[in-house]
């Protein structure tokens, strides 16, 4: 703790409180970015698809949560003996599952026929998907902000100098749990199959791995992670109004995280997410008064940071270096 305080003093203006709060806020934002980046990376790693519809899937997940938790009240209405928090978590879990199913359907209909086609043709398809999914979701959602009615609301916990929103604590916990589950998954049979497929599709097929199934699972996991990211990016304190038609755009803010970590690296996504989240919040906290940088400078700090990293490490921090052959 002492070390943190010392660093805080070095950081100057505003002192320890400012520093600690920026740190926690940055970690919470970073956790969201990391979750979004993870989903993106898993889809890319397993299927070589740059998924531009990731933001749309995030919005779908958040919308399902709104729908299940506030409109339908499932599964809460069958489990009234449970406390509200538990009911809400079940609704959110159901929403994540539903989004995973959406991801699988999308993969089966639009991505599977494109196996072996040029990378960017497939990327274009996901762009078309993005238009469709977002339009349909927005239509169901209406264009007003929709609150998720999560049990934590805008509540704040004070621990010494630190003031942190309950939702941010939950975000970080969920991010850690999701990463542990993924680590476990990659050791499972299916996970190994996925790693093999990522390494070499044809060789994997020759070993009797059903590549189609791997694709479906990758999209399901990717979509589920997108949904989790979408849910947490529609919560207080950052999105106090709730889910809006523009929630989907948060994925663009997570892109630098994907790149900084390396497009095909799971570890990279996590590290990149946290780094980018912190870079953004720290720039916002400490550089806001530097007027020559312009208004909204913190918004481009992630991109500048990404470019800097790429100049040093062209494949990101943990990305696989492409072996260039003649």
């Amino acid at each position: 703790m002492d070390a943190v305080v010392v660093v805080a003093q070095v950081a100057g203006a505003g002192g320890a409180e400012k520093f600690i709060n920026a740190l926690s806020s940055g970690l919470a934002l970073g956790a969201i970015y990391a979750i979004l980046a993870l989903g993106f990376v898993i889809i890319f790693k397993a299927t070589q698809v740059v998924n531009f519809a990731h933001g749309a899937l995030a919005a779908v997940g958040a919308y399902f949560t709104v729908y299940f938790a506030t409109v339908l009240n499932v599964p809460g209405r069958f489990l009234e003996f449970l406390p509200y928090t538990a009911q809400w978590i079940l609704s959110a879990a159901l929403a994540v599952l539903a989004t995973a199913v959406v991801g699988m359907i999308v993969e089966r209909i639009t991505i599977r026929p494109m196996i072996g086609e040029p990378l960017f043709a497939v990327a274009m398809i996901t762009l078309g998907l993005d238009l469709i999914i977002r339009t349909v979701t927005n239509d169901f959602m209406g264009n007003q902000a929709r609150g998720l009615n999560d049990p934590w609301g805008a509540d704040i916990v004070e621990i010494g100098l630190l003031r942190v929103a309950k939702t941010q604590i939950v975000t970080m916990i969920v991010a850690v749990v999701a990463m542990l589950l993924l680590a476990w998954f990659f050791r499972s049979r299916m996970g190994i199959a996925m790693r093999a497929t990522a390494f070499d599709q044809e060789a994997a097929m020759a070993q009797g791995i059903s590549v189609g199934k791997v694709f479906a699972v990758a999209w399901a996991i990717g979509a589920a992670l997108a949904a989790i990211g979408g849910i947490f990016s529609s919560m207080a304190p950052r999105a106090s109004a709730g889910l809006t038609p523009f929630t989907a755009l948060i994925v663009f803010r997570a892109f630098p995280a994907v790149i900084v970590g390396g497009l095909d690296s799971v570890t990279g996504a996590i590290v990149g997410g946290l780094l980018i989240g912190m870079a953004e919040v720290f720039a916002g906290t400490y550089l806001a008064t530097v007027s020559w940088l312009g208004v909204g400078f913190s918004g481009i700090v992630p991109w500048l940071f990404m470019m800097l990293i790429l100049l040093v490490k062209p494949y990101g921090l943990f990305g696989t270096e492409e072996i260039r052959r003649v």
Partner: protein, 410 residues
């Protein structure tokens, strides 16, 4: 030689711009068609001369210039760029800085078009040259994301340089499309209605002719670039960069040239885009615009000129056509026209209409017509690319080959 279109006996004829008679005739017909469009002289398509269509067609022509540039960079030289809108913005703001009218809050030098238009291209090209070395270090998708970063950094700059870009939500006016020798009255004005050679033309029609000439020039330049040393070097770098280097192709120079020329195209297109719209806000130069160009060249068919042009018209005009179709059906249903039964299938007439998922009101229930337009555009992209991943050009090749071999299937 006659009747053997694919037989070339020397390199020169193989490399010719229009190698076959069919091609020559087709291009000539296309040109005549293009000249007649704004005069409303084409039977059945005379509605194209209406300003609402001409404005769209003009936008397509401007986009065609930008898309040709991106096609050289991405399609021919293989460097995927999501930052095309950034280079367009550089061009547009150079143009307005040199050609715009100064005001209380903005700078402008009021120079004539023959200075600001080339300068727009050159400024963008210079930025392109500065960015190019990154492409040597960073490759493939990573490069795409670096260029994407340029878009966001650009947006930040335009928002904060109010002296050049104007107010953040209101922008500033661009100079009109007028040709003058120096400050003062223009010699030729494309921005005012009036007669040309005795034919009364609207400003949109005049702008159309200006842009048409520009597109033809830029198409020829692109086509020629592709069949010279530079173009072949680009293709070599795209296909296998190390192999290209071993064969003596200078990778750094090739990529720099690709970025410079592509950005030049983008700069010119950006300036013209802003000029024909008259006023733009910084948010115009966002990711969506850049993605639109990637969509254009991929839907058209990467690496081909014809495909790029086809793709441009597809992406720019299809939303309008889709819109007209949905409105047409809404109208049919409302007035019980002959095609009302088809419209009944999807247009909601009453709250308990189960079949209809499209409503004609401003906001739901069900998708509004406006939302349907957006979604249908997405559907079209997907259907087209699944049907033919090589884009419209691929479809064209397939159709052509079918008729070449007709009545045999191959």
């Amino acid at each position: 030689m006659r009747g053997r279109p694919n037989l070339f006996t020397d390199y020169e004829s193989e490399m010719a711009l229009f190698p076959t008679t069919t091609k020559r005739v087709a291009v000539a017909l296309l040109l005549i068609f293009a000249l007649l469009v704004p005069l409303g002289a084409i039977p059945g398509l005379s509605f194209l001369q209406e300003s609402s269509w001409l404005v769209l067609i003009n936008r397509a022509l401007v986009f065609a210039i930008a898309a040709l540039g991106l096609n050289l960079l991405t399609g021919v030289a293989g460097q995927v760029s999501l930052g095309h809108s950034f280079f367009m913005a550089v061009g547009a703001y150079t143009a307005v800085l040199l050609g715009g009218t100064p005001g209380k809050t903005v700078w402008g030098l009021e120079l004539p078009i023959w200075i600001w238009l080339p300068a727009a291209g050159i400024a963008a090209a210079i930025i392109g040259i500065i960015v190019a070395p990154t492409a040597v270090r960073v490759r493939g998708l990573y490069l795409a994301f670096v260029t994407l970063g340029l878009v966001f950094i650009g947006l930040h700059l335009w928002r904060n340089f109010g002296k050049i870009a104007g107010g953040p939500t209101t922008g500033r006016p661009w100079p009109p499309l007028e040709f003058a020798l120096w400050k003062g009255d223009p010699i030729i004005s494309f921005a005012k209605d009036g007669p040309w050679l005795g034919v009364q033309l609207t400003s949109d029609a005049k702008t159309y002719f200006f842009l048409l000439v520009a597109v033809i020039v830029f198409t020829l330049v692109a086509k020629n670039l592709m069949r010279t040393r530079i173009g072949r070097a680009w293709a070599a770098i795209r296909d296998r960069d190390i192999a290209a280097e071993i064969m003596g192709v200078n990778e750094v120079r090739g990529k720099t040239q690709a970025f410079a020329i592509s950005s030049f195209y983008a700069g010119i297109a950006g300036a013209l885009f802003a000029v024909i719209l008259g006023r733009l806000i910084p948010e115009t130069w966002d990711l969506l615009l850049a993605v639109e160009f990637i969509a254009i060249i991929l839907i058209g068919g990467a690496g081909t000129i014809a495909g790029t042009l086809l793709g441009t018209f597809f992406v720019v005009l299809i939303p309008r056509i889709v819109e007209d179709i949905t409105f047409f059906f809404a109208d049919q249903v409302a007035n019980q026209g002959p095609l009302a039964w088809l419209g009944d299938l999807f247009i909601r007439k009453s709250p308990d209409d189960i079949l209809g998922f499209v409503s004609t009101g401003a906001a739901g229930p069900g998708l509004s017509i406006f939302q349907l337009n957006v979604a249908l555009f997405g559907v079209l992209i997907i259907v087209f690319l699944i049907a033919e991943p090589l884009g419209l050009y691929g479809i064209w090749i397939r159709v052509r080959n079918y008729w070449k071999g007709w009545p045999f299937t191959y």
